[in-house]
């Protein structure tokens, strides 16, 4: 969705248009949920965080700065909520390799599911600063500039964190046999 489309929807949302809000929800529900899931490694927690994020968005449209892109705002809220959630649950990293054992249903037999679970397990071994840039770059498709905007850090720091995160992820995946 373009920035213009988002801006129009947000204007309507600010005026109390629930249909516009539902359109925003439809557009961002999946990336927000996925970001939360990759940060938290738990689908129920990801669901709760997603609900919280959208409720906060709805209640705080007046605080949204239209000069910024909407996705950078909602992703920032998502990551902050996820990190808060980790803190509240006293589940600061590393969370070991829970994902690899999660949900041994038939679908998990598929190779793609195994890879997904192993990647998730590796993600949980790196600290939240590094995990955050990996999620933004590789799961939400953000550029360096966009990541810098979302996290409010210089682009140089984004690159530094991302490169370190990749190296750590690579080592973790090797250890996990992928």
């Amino acid at each position: 969705m373009s920035k213009t489309d988002d801006t129009k929807l947000i204007e309507r949302c600010s005026a109390g248009d629930r249909q516009a809000f539902e359109a925003l929800l439809a557009e961002y529900e999946k990336p927000v949920y996925n970001a939360a899931y990759r940060m938290l490694n738990n689908r129920d927690d990801a669901r709760d965080v997603t609900q919280t994020v959208f409720l906060k968005v709805f209640q705080n449209f007046s605080q949204y700065d239209p000069s910024r892109r909407f996705f950078s705002w909602i992703y920032r809220i998502t990551l902050n909520e996820s990190i808060n959630w980790l803190g509240k649950a006293n589940r600061l990293e590393p969370l070991a390799f829970d994902a690899a054992d999660e949900g041994k249903g038939p679908e998990q037999q598929l190779e793609s599911a195994r890879v997904s679970a192993t990647v998730q397990a590796a993600l949980m071994t790196i600290n939240t600063d590094y995990r955050t840039v990996v999620v933004l770059k590789h799961f939400l498709g953000c550029s360096y500039v966009e990541i810098g905007e979302i996290l409010e850090i210089p682009e140089k720091t984004v690159k530094s964190r991302l490169y370190t995160a990749r190296q750590q992820l690579k080592d973790a995946l090797t250890e996990l046999g992928l």
Binding site: R47, S112, V115, V119, Y144, K170
Partner: protein
């Protein structure tokens, strides 16, 4: 041998496609003469391919509905007015016409002593009129957040009439059973809003609703002579299995 940080950065930049021509040439020169550098480039490229190939998780199907239900109605541009707003709009709107079925039916049946707590089925499609809006008192509500079904069920009362408001979305066919142990309570009417496809049947102490998948809003009217304290037990079944249970208590004065 450790790779110089500068080249580590260039390898990452190259993988991300964020590298200038000059930097690219410098990196190529380095890699052509450095096996460890080439190995790192290949490994990081493979890592990024793996990350990009991870499929996105699908959010729970009911989540959007739950979020929309948690968002308070605001503003004047509301395009989908709430159940209560429509029901009690003055003058009575389309929904009220359907709602009247319960009242109309009850009055006529009471006067002819045809029902009491006797069983009668297939009560959909009833119509009637309401001359005046009805003031009700909210009693209780429950929220569902299951994979198969999500939404809210609320209980209100208006004198001897108890109203169960269902605002639900389901991903499958769902049977809803509303049981009331007080056999002096009887089914009083049924109305649907914005949708069709829910059928209702009533028997002594129980109303059954069968709803197809999708968003459904409807109301069930029960007659509680004397407005006595009672409990309505709700069961939601998918494929014959109970997926959610809840109770709604009614006490006079609440």
């Amino acid at each position: 041998m450790t790779i110089e940080q500068k080249f580590t950065d260039l390898i990452n930049a190259d993988i991300d496609g964020d590298i200038s021509e000059a930097e690219k040439a410098e990196l190529q020169a380095f890699l052509s003469d450095n096996a460890e550098g080439r190995a790192m480039h290949d490994e990081l490229a493979a890592l990024c391919d793996t990350l990009e190939g991870v499929e996105q998780e699908a959010p729970p199907p009911y989540m959007r509905h739950v979020i929309m239900n948690s968002v308070p109605p605001t503003g004047s541009k509301e395009e989908s007015p709430g159940f209560l707003q429509i029901l009690f709009a003055t003058p009575a709107l389309k929904y009220a016409v359907t709602f009247a079925a319960g009242v109309f039916l009850t009055l006529s049946m009471l006067s002819s002593s045809q029902i009491s707590n006797q069983t009668f089925d297939n009560v959909t499609g009833l119509v009637g009129t309401v001359a005046e809006p009805v003031n009700t008192t909210f009693a209780r509500s429950v929220t569902l957040s299951e994979t198969d079904i999500a939404g809210t069920v609320s209980l209100r009362s208006a004198g001897s009439i108890m109203i169960l408001d269902f605002d639900l979305v389901s991903t499958d066919h769902i049977e809803v059973q509303a049981d009331y142990t007080d056999r002096t309570i009887w089914f009083n009417g049924f109305a649907q809003l914005e949708s069709e496809g829910t059928t209702v049947s009533a028997e002594a102490g129980r109303v059954r609703l069968n709803m197809e998948e999708g968003k459904r809003r409807y109301a069930v009217y029960l007659h509680n002579q004397g407005a006595r304290r009672t409990t309505v037990s709700l069961r939601f079944l998918a494929d014959g299995k109970v997926v959610h249970q809840a109770k709604l208590d009614y006490s006079p004065g609440h």
